[in-house]
Amino acid sequence: MHSKRLLFALFLQLFYSIFSSSFAQATGSAEGYPISGRVKIPSLGTKEFGLPGKVSNVKVILNGGQRVTFLRPDGYFSFHNVTAGTHLIEVAAIGYFFSPVRVDVSARNPGKIHAALTENRRGLSEFVLEPLREEVYYEIREPFSIMSIVKSPMGLMMGFMLLVVFVMPKLMENMDPEEMRRAQEEMRNQGVPSLASFLPGASSSSS
């Protein structure tokens, strides 16, 4: 796995050195090099790539907070004076999930930059960052359905009651009348209180 990635990186290096379509300009500064790129956020509603209204709240963060920069109206950002080495760039934007980006600033070919998304290990030929997905922070309320009422505790109670009211008599009917009578007698002997005796005024009416 590791060697595979190495090979891939080598291949990319080769690719860049041949076509030299490197996207970073080498301004031979003594201390460091600039990293510039672009953040593209698909505007809501329309399919085409544009910039939504809230681009001003997007932050681009280098190495976990070492430096923070903001986007220009066209989505471009840049870090200046970054030392050669491997860095990490993160994009913080509410509503979108961005993969962190591994950025290799080459010391040998001054200013040459190679970027790859760390989430899916995809190399970037152009330093354009796009959200991997939109984030939905809220649960969607399910529309009203009869099932939700039925599934609720109250619904279950009702259901059970209906079951008792309509199905139980059917079951009783199937019972042997002899056995039924015996059972009833037994119940009476045990003095199981009937529903009627519970109710107010029932005693007078039943007697």
């Binding site: 932050k59 913080a92 760390t118 809220y138």
Partner: protein
């Protein structure tokens, strides 16, 4: 049968847990959470009121926030928090539509769109030498193309176009050993003067043509004496500075291309001139202010270089810059503190004497805001064409107050942007006979509300109804009541801020219940730079002493270094009254909360000073008696980060000294762990929360096996990195980086677990709870963040599974848990990738520890993510068996999932997030979460859902209807059965 029941239970459990994440519907926002936005202590303020429409003030703050505030109400139009290293040095408005900021020691210049805060351009101004950074946005300096912005930073002068931020020309001063102090623009002939010193007495002036940066002239002159302090420009060609012994004022005239200097003794100007004079940096045309022994002396500088005292004002708190109100007229303001009132004066600079006031107002400002530190003024034209002024004042407690027409228009509690520490306190118990009548009175309202809710559930509510429902839910007076509730959701958050002010915030809606500026955390002669460090619960009455109010202990020190002496205060948590305050004679290194309380439920605290002495508080004989009982059981540890040593301590005896102090103890070192300094550096240490409750020690595995958690409150997690990899990401290669983690017993110093992560580095964020640690670090090989979990199990109890042994009592479960028994432990560990950088990490805590836990992760995007602990379980495997699945083990994945519904901050940002704290509610399922940074955010979460109470949106109306329907059905069926029985009898 038993099998069936078990299966059913498992199914039930599964149904309950099927929903792992915390989640929220959009209409539930604000029901149990609140969010407050702050900016911090204002450093610069620029008003923008010229145009009709929105009047605003732009501010930059000590929290590195740039914000645009509504001048009418003080609300935030927009706001940006810059990086922590990106300190804003200059702020101005260019072209009437861009806000210009200079930050990072004069190397980054940014322009922001004034209406919406969108960054328009950013330019990097390279330079090689650290120097003072100066931003100068001339009002009407035009080159061929566009308006110029002049920036001096890092030893270079840059002229930057204000339209696109391009550098038009640049002059490098790095080669010369000079210290540039001022940029002065001559308004008429487009010449820039750069003035400064070389050494302390060699003064020089460079003149440049603004259009193209041509050097016109270069002058220097040796002043007859050295200088001290800052150079101040009084007019376009006059500068003033004090000499090196602060006895003379040196005036320098750079007009006509020559340098003429003059000096005058301060004693010649002012008779009583004792004390250290200092020139105040307020820019007043033709004038300057001298601070002398708490007086302010205003001095006028005539064109001939003559100095004249204009006025002498006593006890001035702050003085503003001059404000141009019309052609050639300038005003400035100063404030004085009177008794209970603040006197604001606005005066005309150009008047010969300062008797002609534009304005003199007396304003009442809450004295808990302290002194006024800064004042910015702005004018407006009244309807009768006279000038009106408004003043923006920055107070000692970092709050911001706008004053107009003698009254406070608005104020912002921006001290809350710099919270240092938080603790929670209970509210008073509800008195009887208060609320019953209220409920009955509102019964109809209550029913109506629930009918509305029912309508909402059945989707037959009109939009107005929905709005009414939402308003009703948000406005619920129940949640902001000032009494304790049954569920323990209502509490007070006692917050200590950097300004030394304590706020009590109500957890219901976040309003400030009381606030107090601590007397001994205010600047005084005895204590020059006091800083608050921590806040502890001092007295929590619950069993006895119930008539006492709870109180908190605030610990601070006079200065930021360890050698400064300590200050402590005790504050009543109900009223905010300062009960007691002491300036302690000793220093403070550590505060240890002992597990003992006295008869008044005051917790015993040990304050450890830098001289290896422990001081006991409260200072009562009873406390000593209590401590004597547990004398040999007091252990603590200290971490010396620089030397890489961790030491364990125990109390030894009373202090020996000339003065007998029975509250003072000396201690001895029990053990020490010394890390090899050439290969390891301590970067993080974490312990368990002292008040954490663990419900069960045993953990039943899927195969009916039992594992015992190793639970000791004396465990310490230490993370060390290779010295080369101490810096940020990108400074070390994977080969030279490693992370070593330890779990150490702090009583014996025994290392229970040690593990090395090769190719990994910090920053490390960790939480320790029960028997596990979760830590977050960076893996350089994969170039991703990782999180690891370590769980420690007690092997010595592992053979307690035998039921017969348990019955016969041959088990060791009742044997005391002691660190000295050296039980055999095993540690299990697993690692996962995690996408984001982390700013803070915490774990939920509940009152009895039964509810499963969630990790709360503050991500780099200033959001808080709740992640179920079950994702960090060393027993996760790629293919869990059926039994393991039933137990709730999630199949192993290489990275931890980020489910967007489980962000507890939902679509909000806790700007500049620094820390998260959790407080258990009384309801077992629920944990209160408070996250703070520049913003504050509070919510309550139920990691396993609220299994022990009905949810907020439970429909009582539906329940009532069901009950009514059931009763009706009973009656109907009864009547029917009666009738049927009667018919049967007749037959």
């Amino acid at each position: 049968m038993a099998m069936a029941i078990r299966d059913f239970l498992v199914l039930l459990l599964f149904l309950l847990c099927a929903h792992f994440s915390f989640s929220l519907y959009e209409d539930q926002v604000g029901l149990m959470d609140w969010h407050q936005q702050y900016i911090g202590k204002v450093k610069h303020a620029v008003f923008h009121t010229q145009k009709t429409g929105r009047k605003r003030v732009l501010v930059s703050t000590e929290e590195n926030v740039l914000a645009s505030l509504d001048l009418r109400h003080g609300e935030i139009f927009w706001r940006h928090a810059l990086g922590t290293n990106d300190v804003i040095d200059g702020l101005d408005i260019a072209l009437g539509k861009y806000v210009i900021t200079l930050s990072s020691d004069g190397s980054i210049l940014r322009a922001w769109n004034l209406p919406d805060g969108q960054m328009v351009w950013e330019s990097f101004l390279p330079g090689s030498k650290a120097s003072k950074s100066i931003l100068n946005v001339p009002k009407n300096l035009k080159t061929d193309r566009d308006d110029l912005i002049l920036v001096f930073g890092n030893g270079c002068l840059h002229a930057v176009s204000s339209i696109d931020g391009e550098t038009l020309w640049k002059k490098d001063f790095a080669g010369e050993s000079i210290d540039v102090q001022h940029l002065i623009l001559s308004p008429h002939d487009d010449i820039i003067y750069v003035a400064g010193f070389s050494g302390s007495s060699e003064f020089f002036v460079y003149q440049f043509r603004a259009k193209n940066g041509d050097l016109l002239k270069h002058n220097d002159a040796a002043l007859p004496c050295g200088t001290s302090g800052e150079l101040l420009s009084v007019s376009n060609d006059m500068l003033v500075i004090l000499d090196d012994i602060r006895s003379k004022i040196v005036t320098i005239n750079i007009g006509n291309g020559d340098i003429n200097h003059n000096q005058k003794y301060i004693s010649e100007l002012i008779e009583d001139s004792s004390g250290q004079p200092a020139i105040l940096p307020s820019k007043l045309p033709g004038m300057f202010a001298l601070n002398l022994d708490s007086h302010i002396i205003l001095l006028k500088l005539t064109n001939e270089g003559e100095l004249a005292v204009v006025d002498k004002i006593n006890s001035v708190a702050a003085i503003s810059d001059a404000l141009s109100i019309s052609e050639g007229r300038h005003a400035f303001a100063f404030v004085q503190h009177g008794d209970n009132k603040v006197h604001l004066y606005v005066k005309d600079v150009n008047a010969n004497d300062l008797n002609g006031d534009f304005l003199k107002e007396n304003i009442v400002i809450d004295d808990q805001r302290g002194f006024i530190e800064k004042i910015f003024i702005n004018n407006y034209v009244r309807t009768d064409r006279s000038y009106g002024f408004r003043a923006l004042m920055v107070m000692e407690d970092h709050s911001l107050v706008l004053v107009q027409q003698g009254e406070t228009v608005w104020s912002r509690e921006d001290g809350l942007a710099a919270v240092v520490d938080v603790t929670a306190s209970e509210l008073p118990v509800e008195k009887e006979g208060v609320s019953v009548a209220k409920v009955e009175q509102n019964l109809f309202e209550w029913l109506k509300g629930h009918m509305l809710k029912l309508k909402g559930t059945l989707m037959i509510a009109s939009p107005e109804d929905i709005a009414a429902i939402q308003a009703m839910r948000l406005r619920s007076s129940e949640k902001s009541k000032m009494t304790r509730d049954h569920n323990g959701f209502r509490k007070l958050l006692i917050v200590l801020t950097r300004a030394g002010k304590i706020f009590a915030l109500h957890t219901g809606d976040g309003h400030v219940v009381w606030s107090v500026l601590l007397r001994n955390l205010r600047k005084s002669e005895a204590c020059e730079h006091p800083v608050g460090i921590n806040i502890y619960q001092w007295q929590v009455p619950h069993h006895h002493a119930l008539d006492e109010n709870p109180s908190v202990l605030v610990v601070g020190r006079c200065g930021s270094n360890l050698t400064a002496s300590a200050v402590i205060s005790f504050i009543d948590a109900y009223t905010g009254m300062e009960l007691n305050a002491w300036n302690l004679p000793h220093t403070i290194a550590q505060v240890i909360q002992l597990p003992y309380t006295d008869s008044k439920e005051q917790r015993l605290h040990l304050i450890i000073d830098a001289d290896k002495k422990a001081h006991l508080h409260p200072r009562t004989p009873e406390a000593i008696e209590i401590l004597r009982h547990g004398f040999s059981n007091v252990y603590w540890y200290s971490v010396e980060v620089d030397n890489g040593i961790i030491r364990g301590h125990a109390l030894k005896s009373n202090c020996i000294g000339e003065v007998v102090d029975e509250y003072c103890f000396v201690f001895r070192d029990l053990w020490s762990v010394v890390f090899p300094s050439e290969s390891e550096k301590i970067i993080a240490t974490v312990t368990r929360k002292s008040n954490e409750v663990v419900h069960t020690q045993a953990k039943v595995m899927a195969d009916q096996d039992v594992m015992y958690k190793y639970i000791s409150s004396n465990l310490l997690f230490v993370a060390n990195v290779a010295p080369k990899a101490r810096g940020e990401i990108g400074t070390a290669t994977p080969e030279e980086a490693w992370l070593v983690v330890y779990i150490i017993d702090t009583v014996t110093g025994r290392i229970l677990h040690r593990m090395t992560h090769q190719g990994c580095q910090g920053p490390v964020h960790a939480v320790f709870s029960e028997n596990w640690v979760v830590y977050h670090y960076f893996n350089l090989r994969a170039h991703r963040y990782e999180m690891s979990v370590v769980e420690v199990y007690d092997q010595s109890r592992a053979d307690n599974k035998d039921v017969w042994k348990l019955i016969l009592g041959k088990h060791n479960l009742t044997s005391p848990v002691s660190s000295y028994s050296r039980p055999e432990v095993i540690a299990k560990s697993q690692s996962y990738f995690f996408t984001h950088s982390v700013k803070a990490m915490e774990v939920t805590s509940t009152v009895k520890g039964i509810t499963s836990q969630q990790l709360l992760i503050g991500t780099i995007g200033d959001q808080v993510l709740a992640l179920d602990k079950r994702y960090l379980d060393p027993r996760r495997t790629v293919n869990p068996s059926q039994a393991e699945k039933e137990e709730g083990i999630i199949p192993l994945t290489d990275s931890l999932p980020i489910i967007s519904q489980s962000y507890i901050t939902h679509s909000l940002k806790v700007e500049g997030l620094r820390r998260i704290i959790t407080v258990p509610a009384k309801l077992e399922s629920t944990s209160l979460v408070f996250a703070y940074g520049v913003d504050l955010f509070f919510t309550r979460i139920a990691p396993s859902r609220t299994y022990d109470s009905l949810t907020e949106d439970f429909n009582y109306a539906l329940l009532l209807i069901t009950i009514v329907a059931l009763v009706a059905a009973i009656f109907v069926t009864w009547v029917l059965s009666e009738r049927k029985e009667l018919q049967d009898k007749w037959r």
